[in-house]
C-alpha cells in the first residue's frame, strides 16, 4: 500500500457552488452543527468550504466558486510548528491529524495558508436524536482539539482492510471521499496519483491544472483545473 499517493483534482469550471460536498463532509465526519453565533465569531467548522467570488460589474456579473479543503501539502506548513507531533505526513501523501495527541496550541491553523484547519472552541453538541446518526468510524472531537479534512481516512482504512482480506484491489480502486461522492457535477475527483490510468492522475497533469498559492511552495496533493472563460477564448480568436 505504500506505493499509493492519494490526491484530488477540483475542476473549478464544473463547480456550481451547490454545497453538496459541504453537507456530505459534515455527515461523514461528525462535524458539529454551526449555529448563528459560530459564524458571527468566525468559529464555524467546515472541512470543505465553497469560497464565492463575484466577478465583473452589474449587470454583467458572474459568480465564481472555489471549493477549498485541506490541500494535504507535500511540504506542509502546519507540520513543523506542532509541538506534540499531532499532525504528520504519512507514506500515502496524506496529512494526518491525531486528535488524541493534539493539545490545542492552534499554531498549525495559524500557519496554514489555506485556512483549512478548524479549532473546536466549544464542546460539540447535537440534538439528542442526532446522536444515532453519528459515524461510528470517526471520532467526535471534543473542545480544544484542532481538526481538518482527513481525506476520509476512515474510508481509506476500510478499503485497505477489505482489499487485504479479499486479496484484490477492487475496494481501493472504487474508493471515494464523501465530498467527491456527493458532487453532482463530478467537479471533485479523488484517487491514487501513482496510478497513471486513474482519472485523477490524468486530470492532475492536465494543462488547465494549477495549485492554490503556488508561490508559497507547499506542494499540495490537490490541484485545481482552471475556469474555461468563453469570452477570453472568443477574444483570442478575434485577434
Amino acid at each position: 500500500m505504500s506505493d499509493v499517493k492519494w490526491g484530488m483534482v477540483v475542476d473549478v469550471d464544473k463547480c456550481s457552488g451547490c454545497q453538496a460536498c459541504v453537507i456530505a463532509c459534515m455527515a461523514e465526519n461528525n462535524i458539529p452543527i454551526n449555529l448563528d453565533r459560530d459564524f458571527k465569531e468566525n468559529r464555524s467548522i467546515a472541512w470543505i468550504r465553497i469560497e464565492r467570488y463575484w466577478e465583473g460589474e452589474y449587470p454583467d456579473v458572474k459568480a465564481r466558486f472555489l471549493p477549498v479543503l485541506c490541500q494535504h501539502c507535500g511540504n506542509a506548513p502546519c507540520e513543523p510548528v506542532c509541538p506534540v507531533y499531532a499532525t504528520f505526513h504519512n507514506d500515502q501523501g496524506m496529512n494526518i491529524q491525531v486528535y488524541n495527541r493534539c493539545v490545542g496550541t492552534r499554531y498549525c491553523a495559524n500557519n496554514c495558508p489555506y485556512h483549512a484547519r478548524y479549532f473546536n472552541y466549544r464542546r460539540p453538541t447535537w440534538p439528542e436524536t442526532y446522536n444515532n446518526y453519528l459515524n461510528p468510524d470517526v471520532t467526535v472531537r471534543d473542545r480544544g482539539i484542532m481538526e481538518k479534512c482527513s481525506f476520509c481516512v476512515q474510508r481509506i482504512n476500510a478499503a485497505t482492510r477489505i482489499a487485504k482480506r479479499d486479496g484484490n484491489e477492487d475496494a481501493i480502486a472504487g474508493l471515494q471521499t464523501a465530498c467527491a461522492q456527493a458532487c453532482p457535477t463530478d467537479a471533485l475527483v479523488f484517487g491514487n496519483l501513482n496510478n497513471p490510468d486513474s482519472q485523477v492522475s490524468q486530470l492532475y497533469n492536465d494543462e488547465r491544472s494549477y495549485v492554490l498559492q503556488e508561490s508559497i511552495g507547499t506542494q499540495p496533493n490537490i490541484r485545481y483545473l482552471k475556469k474555461i472563460d468563453e469570452h477570453a477564448a472568443a477574444e483570442a480568436h478575434a485577434h
Binding site: F88, I96, V98, N100, V138, T139, V153, Q154, R161, R165
Partner: protein
Amino acid sequence: MKRKLKPIIAIVILLSVAGIFFTVVAPKAVAFVYPLPENEVIFPHDFHAGTLALECQFCHTGAEDNRGANVPALEQCMFCHKVAGLENPEAKKIRAAWESQEPLNWIRQHRLPDHTHFRHEPHITAGFECSTCHGDVAGMKQVVQVKTEKGGALKMGDCIACHKENGAPTQCSTCHN
C-alpha cells in the same frame, strides 16, 4: 534511653501495619473487577468456555466479521437454555428475562476510549487467538481484563508492540481517526 526507644517502636509498628495493609488488603480492594449491578446474572465463563469448551464465536458472533465481538443477545442464551440447565438458578433468571422480554444488564469489561477504533475482524482473520489479548477466559468465572507483563490492563503500548512484531501498520491513523 527508654524515652528515645518509644517513638522508634511506634514507628516500626505503624510501618508494619501499613505494610500489611498495602500488600495484603489493598490489592484485593482495588482489583480490576467492577461491582456487579442488581439483577445481574452470574455468567460462568469457566463453565461455558472451559468445561463445555464452546467456541468464543458461538456466542460472540461479531468477532469474525465485525468491529465488536458483541455481548450476545438473549436469543443466543436461549439457543441452549430452553432445554439446558433447567434447574440452575442463574439460567432460570435468563428464562425469566426472556419470557418478560426485559433485556439483561451485562457489564462490559473491555472498553476502549472513543478516539480508538479497534476492529476484531482483521485480528481474527489474521489468525490470532482470542486469548492473545483476553487471556485465559476459559479459566475465569468472572471475566476481568488480564494484566500484561507490565502489570496493568491492556494499553496502547501493548497494541504497538504486537503490531511491530507482526509487521502491521503502526501509524496513528490506523486506529485513531
